[in-house]
Symmetry: C2
Subunit: 266 residues, 2 copies
């Protein structure tokens, strides 16, 4: 039996009854104590994979209502529609009797998708993972992710910010385990905020909502990510992400709405 | 009293009790009999504006479960969170006792947003509305929208498809009425599918889910839209939209997940 990855263990869900599932939000996937929104989405998707007739997330939208925290969680699934190729559901992510996040999702079988393809974009041209630098941030989740960025890109950490709010890099689980649709949900929220590349590491960038489209089962190896914020308007911003697998295939798109504040001038 | 626009009349909602609202899905906002998803979202947002402490949609995500149809609808609102600057809710869009669409939304007061801005993109450079051509499609909603495209852009209608799956143009309500956050939701789904610019008008492109971020109250005048599909993979595609007001300010971003099939070869 293959050793289960830490990510697989830390997203384990247990069915209580037809609609309810239990999970344990693990420590270590957090930013300043608040579990990563992609990690929480992965736990939700794992419960939905058990509750729905289709195995893989095709589209997941999460609205983050209150901070989640390490510890027990109860997930309430509601089936909305079970079609032949797509099924949809709603999930309430509960902790301590309070709803912390609400998800809508459509699931499908990504191994049996068929239809035309047309890709009008190229993945970012990055050095191979071995030529990149391990990017470490002073937040717990940084230890869980093997994030590799091109030499010099992380200079925004030392205040050398660039023209664009954009990050690129390779990402994988640091303790091993090949990418799958659930880890793509994590990776979609696993890079530092792209806006830091423009403004420096200014602090907390809370996600209001996050949506991920998973397009294909990823090939083994690191996942290539590009994240960008083009529109910061009156403190609200999107962050758009693209994830490509090691064979250069687009495997996920993401978008979040987040809030951004510049630090108070001293 | 100003004459109410047809759009305002056709998105009217009436409160039944604390959580339920009635609406009438009007004829004429449809594509081949199925009401436009942005129109349905606008009705939902109007009920939510009545149910929530904040007046404007900041982020709305709709999952379209079954086809809606002209006729009565009942909208069930559930308040998820009422914060100081943002409130969130869930809405079930019911017709004939069946749930046709489910929405999650965050509302705010767009007139009082404050925070940093950084726009790293320019609006498409289009001729003024008076120099554009009225774009007419053989679907009912085409009569409701004043869609103006640059000369020659609509040549995909005659089979002269281009390299990219992209449309640009000016859009307004054809029977008048200035743009507001609700009409932006309609406009976010009001262009022909961008994929038609690459593959021709191949038929039905059903929306699985649609998400719109509204960033600002739009200035009067036509709204400038750019819609693009970059990734059609195995028959699934996103369509990303940007809406700018007549003063060149970004007022909304949209993304949908839709299905696309090429017509069967004869």
């Amino acid at each position: 039996m293959a050793t289960e990855s830490r990510f697989a263990r830390d997203t384990t869900v247990r069915q209580i009854d037809e609609r309810r599932w239990q999970a344990e939000v693990a420590k270590g996937w957090d930013i300043l104590g608040v579990p990563n929104g992609g990690y929480i989405m992965a736990i939700a998707a794992r419960a939905l994979a058990g509750a729905l007739p289709h195995p893989h997330p095709l589209s997941v939208s999460g609205y983050y209502l209150e901070r989640t925290e390490p510890g027990p969680a109860e997930l309430h699934c509601e089936l909305l529609r079970a079609g032949k190729t797509v099924s949809s559901a709603c999930l309430r992510f509960m902790q301590g009797g309070r709803e912390r996040a609400r998800f809508l999702a459509s699931f499908a079988d990504l191994a049996s998708q068929a239809g035309p393809s047309f890709v009008d974009e190229t993945p970012p041209q990055l050095p191979a993972p071995a030529q990149c630098e391990r990017h470490v941030m002073p937040v717990n989740i940084s230890e869980r992710l093997d994030l590799l960025t091109p030499p010099g890109q992380a200079s925004w950490l030392e205040g050398k910010t660039g023209e664009h709010a954009e990050h690129t890099g390779w990402i994988a689980l640091s303790e091993g385990g090949e990418p799958d649709p659930l880890s793509l949900l994590l990776f979609a929220d696993g890079f530092p905020p792209a806006v830091f590349a423009r403004f420096g590491p200014t602090g907390w960038v809370p996600t209001l909502d996050l949506a991920v489209q998973v397009r294909a089962l990823p090939a083994p190896g690191h996942i290539l990510g590009r994240f960008r914020t083009r529109y910061l308007t009156d403190g609200q911003m999107e962050e758009d992400g693209e994830l490509w697998d090691s064979r250069g295939r687009l495997v996920a798109l993401s978008r979040q709405l987040a809030r951004f504040r510049l630090p108070e001038r001293q």
